[in-house]
Amino acid sequence: MLAVSVLGGSALAVLMHSPDDRQRQESAYHLLTRFFEADQARRAALEAANVAPGERLIYTTLTGNVEANIAGVSLPAHPDGGFVLRGADRTGVVWRSPKLPLQPETSYRAVFDITPLIDVPMTVQIVSLDGRELASAPVGMATRSLAVALVGSSQPAFATIAIANQEGDGDIIWIREFRFVEVSN
């Protein structure tokens, strides 16, 4: 009885054992330390963005309030700050910001630090609620930062990132920061 039980129980243990379980673990201390160090760096960047001369911050991903506004897309944190945009078999808009309030006769600028992770054409767009493109800029493999200037209307808008085509599953783009600011004339 004992021999059969030991053999059976051991066989079950081997069959159900996952070597990855232990490899995925780290101490709460290290995990939280890394988490809060990243958070402090983000807050410092946010503070710097808030005091940039001649600008008024409307929206930035540095606030930490980043949601996956497009179904089928996920936004896991990137170890070096910001987040990764991940999805499968996508074409068109893959990320959308919250609504950006625009005022008439006011100038705005989108500043972003984005690294494409796949080699397909990508575009940052500012789009009105009714779908009109107000401004756009291409994001190339070498592009890390671009400015998009526009003059607002009374209608809110979204910032979006669109891609030509992506086949398969995986990381699409690393968004270290996307910032939308009002520019003083």
Binding site: M1, L2, A3, V4, S5, V6, G8, G9, S10, L12, A13, V14, M16, H17, S18, P19, D20, D21, R22, R24, Q25, E26, S27, A28, Y29, H30, L31, L32, F35, F36, D39, R42, T61, T63, G64, N65, V66, E67, A68, S74, L75, P76, A77, F83
Partner: protein, 470 residues
């Protein structure tokens, strides 16, 4: 050779269910071989080092007269563990600590079997208890902090003292009283937490005393009352000596007492949470990890769980990881109520006139499991208690859990047989063996997350060994 009764299912299956002495010897021999393989090969026990050497105790510590080791040791924070930790340190000057671990764990296997058999006359109960002495990793922290190599002896002392207590109360004789005195002395000098046993005895005093009076009359109830008073007197004397000569519980120490809070509400909350925590620390050692906590934390890791927030409320995402760290508390609360209810049910059955041995085991085992860590419960909550893995602190609760599981297996074999009781027991034991491996892997995960050293992973080692064969 007289056959050994196998419990109440012997009535119908006597031919196949009465192992003789040869079978018992083979059973224990195989169990000890398995335990030795587990400890030496799969857990790599020879990695551990002598705890007192690591603490840097001077050579003068080892040159005391023998009686000098029977009192609190000022060099080691006033510890009073003469027959376990201190004895092990002395022996480990000569032999490797792994040998002490191996011997003490195997002594527990043998003592569990024979005490269980003597008290219940059930082979299934005794054999299951002995098997659980192997599979339950109550002493796994020895691989991180190497001071409890002789923990198995402590549990053995308790079992012997409990056995002697039953014999002495049932039918006192010079022999049973001498047995009780020797086992009791070994236990009291084994570890300060023997006081947990005293609290359990005090907790059982009134309800069990009334039950004995009702079922067996005044004489045995009086003997039990004298026994309880004797335990209480020894506890008082022990605490007075300990606090006078070996008190190491100042503020900021590991054993900082919750009385230092100077706030009744905090004391009550801390104490209550510790009682449930320690209850579950023991119970989770016999439960499959899938029903004892967050298996998602184990299979995916903390960072993955945080990543799944996908940017939402970034500043506070760490709480989602902590949700999984503390998830076991839901299970703990539910099981606490369940075990308490089963204990009350068994007591009421006894009160109604039933005299089954397994009902007595349930009552005593439930109380041990529920309130068996009284001394550690009056120490402040520490970060290490955020996950249930320090089994050595709750050894009384662990023995309660083992007793309840052994009763459960006996009852399953007795009442819910499938094709045969033998097959039923094999299925139950197979589950216990698998649970033993799975719990060890989970304890390693808990220790990793709590930054409390590294535990071995016997299932991983076995997988690797088998892989190397092909």
């Amino acid at each position: 050779m007289r056959a050994i009764s196998i419990g109440s299912w012997t009535d119908q299956d006597a031919s196949e269910a009465r192992p003789g002495a040869g079978s018992v010897f083979a059973f224990l021999a195989l169990l000890i071989i398995c335990n030795t393989f587990l400890i030496v090969v799969l857990e790599d026990a020879f990695q551990i080092r002598d705890h007192f050497t690591l603490l840097g105790l001077p050579d003068s510590f080892y040159q005391k007269p023998l009686w000098g080791y029977l009192v609190p040791q000022p060099e080691v924070f006033g510890t009073w563990a003469s027959t376990t930790v201190v004895a092990a340190a002395l022996v480990q000057k000569v032999i490797h600590p792994a040998w002490v671990l191996l011997v003490s764990q195997n002594v527990l296997v043998i003592v569990s079997f024979f005490v269980g058999l003597s008290l219940t006359r059930s082979f299934v109960f005794a054999a299951t208890a002995a098997l659980l002495a192997v599979t339950v990793p109550f002493n796994f922290h020895v691989y991180s902090v190497h001071g409890t190599t002789a923990q198995g002896l402590l549990l053995s002392y308790f079992l012997l003292a409990a056995h002697a207590s039953v014999l002495a109360i049932r039918k006192p004789s010079w022999g049973s009283l001498a047995y009780l005195a020797i086992a009791g002395t070994l236990l009291v000098l084994g570890y300060e937490t023997w006081l947990d046993v005293g609290v359990v005895v005090l907790g059982l005093g009134l309800p069990v005393g009334l039950l004995l009076w009702r079922a067996h009359g005044r004489e045995i109830a009086t003997r039990f009352a004298i026994y309880v008073c004797g335990v209480f007197a020894i506890m008082l004397a022990y605490v007075m000596i300990k606090t006078r000569y070996g008190f190491g519980s100042g503020e900021g120490t590991e054993t900082d007492l919750l009385f230092h809070y100077d706030n009744l509400a905090v004391m009550a909350i801390d104490y209550g949470s510790k009682v449930v925590t320690f209850f579950f620390t023991a119970l989770s050692l016999v439960l499959p990890p899938q029903i004892a906590g967050s298996i998602a934390l184990q299979s995916q890791g903390g960072q993955w769980l945080i990543d799944q927030q996908h940017g939402y409320h970034l500043q506070m995402q760490f709480l989602t990881y902590l949700n999984h760290v503390f998830l076991w508390r839901f299970f703990a609360g539910a099981y606490f109520v369940l075990v308490a209810a089963v204990g009350v049910w068994a007591y009421l059955r006894l009160w109604s006139g039933r005299q089954d041995w397994w009902l007595w085991i349930i009552v005593v085992g439930a109380v041990m499991l529920l309130i068996g860590a009284s001394t550690h419960s009056v120490v402040k909550f520490r970060p290490m208690h955020s996950m249930p893995y320090l089994g050595y602190q709750v050894w009384v609760n662990v023995l309660g859990a083992i007793a309840l599981v052994a009763v459960l297996v006996h009852q399953i074999a007795d009442r819910f047989r499938l094709w045969s009781p033998t097959l039923t027991v094999v299925i139950a034991w197979t589950a216990l063996v698998w649970t033993g491996f799975a719990v060890r892997t989970s304890l390693g995960v808990y220790a990793d997350n709590m930054f409390m050293g590294t535990y071995p992973d016997p299932a991983g080692k076995l997988t690797m060994l088998l892989g190397s064969l092909w």
